[in-house]
Symmetry: D2
């Protein structure tokens, strides 16, 4: 245990995701377990710059393990991208006696932490919190599993009405530049076609696939479209395109949007958050810094923040085959 | 009991809604209970015209009481709006020995039934199935209660992310020309403002209301917008308008769409469906025709189809006051 | 408006139910709307006796409309049943300047309020909060609709496994001496038999009914048993009894228990809570006292507490017929 | 591809679990994809012995990916444990021209398959379907993830009422001789103590832990108890024991029971089922036999059935520490 660490800060930054509260709770209680003070930093890096701090004890985080959102609020801070902003943040942290911080967020939040660490030799530790699962060094980001369940539950509802009317639905899901949500939720929801950024098969293949589905006797079709897909048409344009080329289809569009970021976290995300929080705090206490705590092969693992930021996640190609076979 | 009725048809027509399957099940089993044959008519009036019929016994409707959608499929039929279409339908019904039918659907479906009844003296009975709750002669249409729960659950998720970021969301919900869903789900979800067709207070009032909400210290705002509202701007235009006038707000839009029509029905809708189905069949057997079976003051009640079609539902004005007070 | 009322207390008492938080929120915000102070009384009458009070403003009740349980906590107080206990409570209330209170609870809580009102001429108003729906003067108690949805969702899951194994399940649900939950959730879940206190048809009828169900080709059976039923055997004894008389059945038991009291309230319960809270506060301000605010025929209505306590709710006999027909 | 395999059977056996239907769908569609006939075998090995077979095409498994239970039904067969029973089964399979089968089930089902394979050199492949996650050779069994979500959602509801009344609840969960469900759902639900078969710390430690929880200011306590725990007392006896030693506690018991086996599968279980089904069929076509298809380190992997049966799963000891820290 490092004797130098007496006070650890914790913040959530960037887009929120289910499980962030469970991770905050874990960081706070692990600090308490090791008799370390814990300071909640509100509104991400902006709150750090403004010194928006609050001491947190184990009872501050009662009854939040199952709550969506983040009690510390989140924000994107333009100021923290400037040297002056980071200087202010450093001053506020040192004034408050904070020796290290744990940031729960995504790529952008880690980049900020990494630069800050380089500039001030300030111990930082990252926990990957985003529904998009697009962070290198962890097979699962916090909130991803919950978002998948939210998406399949919604598509199940859409399927009810789609199959009652023999309709085709384009359903747009989140995921930024990665197709993880689309691919997994698409398979889970039994989608007839899945459009992801990692694989652009073009419009012709889409029509073909829909014709095949129609010919096979299916009563409805769901096409899951990742927001980052490369097909070059919005879901609304896709609707027009398909209606023009396949007038026999009654096409509808559903853009799922921000509901995907909310909701009570799944058991997986709650347990993952608990594990990551423990490891983040204990790694700091062991003198480690500038790592992201992730999960690889069901084991908690550290990855240097620099790698986590630069590395790219990959789509499991096996899943593309599985998806194809499932639409037989 | 009418000795003339030996075979009753049942169909779902128009937009589908949760509880339609529970109503089909009730019609089928009530027929079986009274030793009447029951014929499922597929794809609404179009299937009637095409003779798309199938005999249904009590075991045909096992395990559907909790399923969204409609196992009989639904459709809108242009042909049934023509005299020739209805003639074909009449021929198919009589060829199949069907003596009466129960149609589960909304305004448009009832209009078709009413005309058909007038033309052919054919016994018909309507069950109000739509999430919009816009049918006269019943305080609740089938699926309305379920849709309200779907909407509040989704807005609860949106609220998680809205309050993590101090954001304003415009959430568009269904309801056609009626604000029932928006008003009730808006109150249920704790919306800061609700825009419904029945009350157009204008854009200025909206800004005022948002300013009041901001001033009162609220960390996020949800505005529920009925698809039929009269404010003269789409939710996307509302976003632009508010961002222009209140640049301090980060505004997002969510159009809930067709997920509102699907999903497993609530207990209320399942029980209501069971009651309506019993009454529809038994009313036919008592020699009644051309009525809608609805619920008024917690009692099952018949309303002439003609009135059900022409009558207008009204918004409970008390709820507008409640909504105002809740946003204190 | 009564000029004498400047401060209103609010408490939850007895067993908790979903929607209590929404009702607290409504009371607090309606007070704020009318510029009346509102005091939260913690832990029911026991907290009243101990002066466990806290001032509540409109922001004290942010983000609780969708939360189960009660932020004011609840308890049963033996002391409040004594004259001395009530004297202490009166002193604490007057010391705190509280002019009236709203109690959210059931029969027992109302009885306490009624006696207190008689003894001290203290203005009181009741809001019916219990999942059991066993209170006279309201067709729906707060939490009842949510509990029905909880029960049917759980039985849907049990049905999955029951029908996979051709099993019979006895499912015990709450409801105290009333069969409302069992009867409605039983119909909603498609139960093959429903045992309620209001109708004891005996063990022989149960066997008959199960034999009929088996003969009709059903692959599984669910029997919903109200905790207050009069059949004279526990669900565990029923299991033994049926296994002895119908050895072809593999029988299981599930006692749903307290999960029925928790969970996020349904839209119906949230709206009802909002309406009842408004009416409770405004009735006090109009000089009324000693009433329960309920809903009858979809309209908010006042019933003297005395009647609410003594009156009995009745089972809708029509539902028994519907249930019979549904098991055809 | 093996030229000898033209027809593959599929069955579900033993206790059912969510995701079995998704696995059946995957087996059926993978067969269709490879132009292999697929035969559904009803009611597990008993149906195999009785020749209860039905041909299945890709449309036979429409709309089941999200359904709990198993459309093929399941059963435990005493007869299949006898040599005569297996002989009958072999005859029925060969009469129907079935060349191999995929069995979805647990330990017992795999033992049957393994013996059958040895006796008749009949190609078999296992897919682990059980909520208990107690099978060697896979980090996740089908249905386990869904059951975890079901359990935490129910405990969330119980927590609502527990914390409203400052109560202690003993919640018994499934898991047979393994504590996976209890440990993970316990952490996920924020349980104050978790009793699992793998770690018996005795009654004294339980009291200590509850005293610590009380002292730390927690308003309620949830103790999750695995059905296989070794503490030597039932949950009902635990209630009595604690009430005797800690009379300040109002203790309640909830036995979750069979609802844990039902419900719509999580996205994870649906995707896992799809992947396992593809691999099972394709492994048979590659000439492999007598394996279980599982997932290890996020990759699909084969384990000889013999090992899968004999091997033991282990509790992740790290999770015990995490659980301890979380109750700080």
């Amino acid at each position: 245990m490092s004797l130098n660490i007496k006070k650890i800060g914790v913040l959530t930054s960037g887009g929120d995701s289910p499980g962030m509260n469970a991770a905050i709770r874990s960081v706070v209680r692990t600090c308490a377990f090791h008799n370390i003070e814990c300071i909640g930093i509100y509104r991400g890096y902006q709150g750090m710059i403004e010194g928006d701090f609050k001491e947190m004890g184990p009872r501050s985080v009662n009854n939040i393990v199952n709550k969506g959102g983040t009690i510390l609020k989140s924000a994107r801070s333009v100021e923290f991208r400037t040297a002056e902003g980071r200087k202010k943040a450093y001053e506020k942290l040192t004034q408050a006696g904070i020796d290290a911080f744990v940031v729960i967020g995504g790529d952008g939040s880690f980049t900020g932490a990494e630069i800050f660490n380089k500039e001030y030799k300030f111990p930082v530790m990252g926990i990957p919190g985003t529904i998009d699962n697009d962070i290198y060094g962890t097979t699962h980001t916090l909130g991803y599993d919950t978002a998948l369940n939210t998406v399949v539950e919604v598509i199940d509802k859409i399927r009810d009405t789609a199959s009652s009317h023999n309709r085709l639905f384009f359903v747009e899901v989140m995921g930024r530049d990665a197709g993880h949500i689309a691919l997994n939720a698409g398979i889970g929801a039994g989608a007839e076609e899945i459009l992801i950024p990692e694989e652009d098969l073009g419009l012709e293949r889409l029509l073909e696939s829909l014709r095949k589905s129609k010919a096979s006797g299916k009563s409805s079709s769901i096409v899951v479209v990742s927001e980052g897909d490369k097909i070059g048409k919005s879901v609304f344009e896709l609707k027009d395109y398909v209606e023009e080329h396949m007038p026999e289809y009654d096409v509808r569009v559903s853009v799922l949007g921000h509901m995907q970021r909310g909701g009570s976290p799944s058991c997986f995300d709650r347990v993952l958050a608990s594990r990551l929080g423990v490891k983040a705090v204990e790694s700091i206490l062991e003198g480690k810094s500038n790592y992201m705590v992730g999960i690889i092969n069901d084991k908690i693992a550290l990855t240097p923040l620099e790698q986590a930021i630069k590395g790219e996640t990959e789509i499991d190609l096996e899943l593309l085959r599985v998806s194809d076979i499932m639409t037989t």
